[in-house]
Symmetry: C2
Subunit: 378 residues, 2 copies
């Protein structure tokens, strides 16, 4: 096991009818900006629950966050917050809304051009406090200090992290997820699955607890994910997926083990360049990344095959291949396509993506490796 | 899954040579009281490492915490802290030292008789900040807000909890555990094992992630525990046990599931009345508690048998019995006795313990049930 630090101060409030507890968690006298997405929360009753819970506060709604939250939009919120002297930011939605809130919270008091927070990882020294009402289990953003922000004019989708943007609290009511469309359920389950594997399918370092924990989350996603599609108002299924997705990226399973975020990095490029949903890019790329990086991945893939998918026989390479096939079958059972060509993207399409990676991401991703991955996944 | 809240703000610093990082974690200008036990840290080099790390601070040593920290001793530390105007409490040791620090931190500013904090769960409104250097993986106290305090004059051993006594940070260097005597290693592994089972061997509530996590910790303890006895300076083994013991009682695996602390409650009575080590009381009692409470325990015991101990065949009751036998065999492989008679305690001895439970603990433990457990474990 490698040395590590772990510090996650997010308060989780989990369960049925918990949105009402907002009023206990937001500091008395706060002026609240409530950030949300494109309006689904007005259809499924979440907005009304939030409104009722905020009755004792001065608050302003600010809707319109896009999937893959945009810098340009976030900066409008920053201006509004400065003008209105908002003191607390409440994110109501999925990872995009929460990530947007984190960037906004960091940008409000930032000196200089805030794009540098993501583009240059310019350090921030303060952030508005954030609270969360989660409506889509997927990104883990409700219990970490990470955010990913996109910029249209440059086709960029970039991440930043800071302990200052951990939510103060996150309310997770599984009932809010009943009305999610199936493609968003699938995106979320795949995203959480890949969060786990990027902290787990790496060279072994004798960290059995981290391995068992990672496998625990994967098993829950594999066992419960398809049930959420077939039985969408099953509370237990929704609760188990929601908690698993949060645990997939709150820092815990990454303690003391190597991590490799190649699939996410290439995935962000695909989303930035082709507007494919984040989860869909991951389902396409993961098998290709694993096969391309077989020296680093096959030993743990064989272990995952045995422990998660019940692979019983074969050499390490055969067990690893069986685990990759089982993973792809699981993604397909969630209704995901797993090939670029299924979305109509042909080989000629790869050139601009690879060019972009060569220019912008060569320090984290070898362009030749990315080329091999993408060609495999046509 | 039941509704829950989870909030654990302890910062963990884990790994080799991490004690030096004390100086970054204690607030500048703090006046530190360094609390420790009966001097083993002066023999194994930990005291010298702490001393070096505290070079930039005004600090006072305060040694002599007993296993099962005593109210009388803690109150001496409270007086000393008040007199010396100490502002930060550093606990260097195992669970007893950390628990003592928590009680001291809570008592320093408490109005009235501080024994009421444990005896009456009188609420505390402030506590001195605490830091930890852990030297014995066992109680999980380094990452929770619980403490157990004993009082000699009344043969009482009682617990309290408060979010105010979470350590600000805990440093876990597995190398500090190389010099532990084998009986303390065994006590620690058994204590952590029982912490898990008291949050896991309960009626099922469809919480598969919590189950898998609990089983993960149990598997690591079962696989790595005996290695710590046979190969005491194996860093990886020590690291895996240390992290597993911390995860066993930091609130995580108890999220959203029923808990039952009968084994610990009767164990505290045994320790208070017969001076048996805490871990030793648990190894004696656990099989008896499980068999006595079979309606509540057998379904999950059978699951533990299958998933942790590889039990393959039989009815639920047979699998549960096999799991109990496997647990007792595991304890014995750690060098633990598992019967009261092995320590020379005979049936006549039980009367004062049962009398004490009837008087003091009847609101948490049915005395008839305790009698059945104790008679089973003679």
């Amino acid at each position: 096991m490698e040395n590590f630090s772990y510090h996650n101060p997010v308060k989780i409030i989990f369960g049925k009818q918990t949105i009402a507890r907002l009023s206990d968690e937001i500091p008395a006298g706060a002026k609240v900006l409530t950030l949300y997405g494109r309006g689904s929360i007005k259809e499924n009753g979440v907005y009304d629950q939030v409104k009722a819970a905020l009755a004792g506060f001065e608050w302003l709604p600010f809707g319109g966050v896009d999937p893959n939250p945009r810098y340009e939009f976030c900066m409008k919120a920053v201006e509004y917050i400065r003008k209105e002297k908002v003191t607390f930011l409440l994110a109501v939605g999925g990872g995009s809304v929460i990530d947007g809130a984190k960037f906004i919270a960091a940008a409000v008091n930032f000196k200089g051009n805030p794009w540098r927070i993501v583009a240059k990882h310019a350090p921030i020294t303060s952030a508005l406090p954030i609270g969360v009402v989660l409506t889509l289990p997927a990104t883990g953003s409700e219990m970490n200090g990470n955010a990913v922000i996109s910029r249209i004019e440059t086709n960029e989708k970039l991440a930043f992290s800071s302990p200052l943007v951990y939510p103060k609290f996150s309310i997770l009511d599984p009932e809010t997820t009943y009305s999610l469309p199936p493609n968003q359920v699938a995106n979320g389950v795949v995203d959480a699955f890949v969060h786990v594997t990027e902290q787990y399918i790496n060279p072994p370092v004798n960290a059995p607890l981290q391995d068992y924990f990672a496998e625990s989350i994967l098993k829950v996603l594999v066992e419960e994910g398809p049930k959420a599609l077939s039985d969408p108002t099953n509370y237990e299924v929704r609760a188990n997926i929601m908690w698993a997705a949060t645990m997939a990226l709150n820092g815990l399973i990454g303690c003391g083990v190597p991590q490799d975020w190649t699939t996410h990095t290439i995935g962000h490029e695909l989303t930035a360049m082709c507007a494919l949903d984040h989860g869909r890019t991951l389902a396409i790329l993961l098998p290709g990344v694993w096969r391309t990086m077989r020296e680093q991945t096959f030993e743990k893939l064989a272990q995952m095959g045995r422990r998660v998918f019940g692979v019983a026989d074969g050499s390490v390479a055969e067990q690893a291949e069986a685990a990759i096939d089982a993973t792809e079958n699981f993604f397909r059972s969630m209704g995901m396509k797993t090939r670029l060509s299924e979305y109509g993207f042909l080989g000629t399409f790869l050139q601009p993506i690879l060019h972009h990676i060569t220019i912008h991401r060569h320090h984290v991703i070898d362009p030749d490796m990315a080329q091999e991955v993408l060609h495999q996944r046509l």
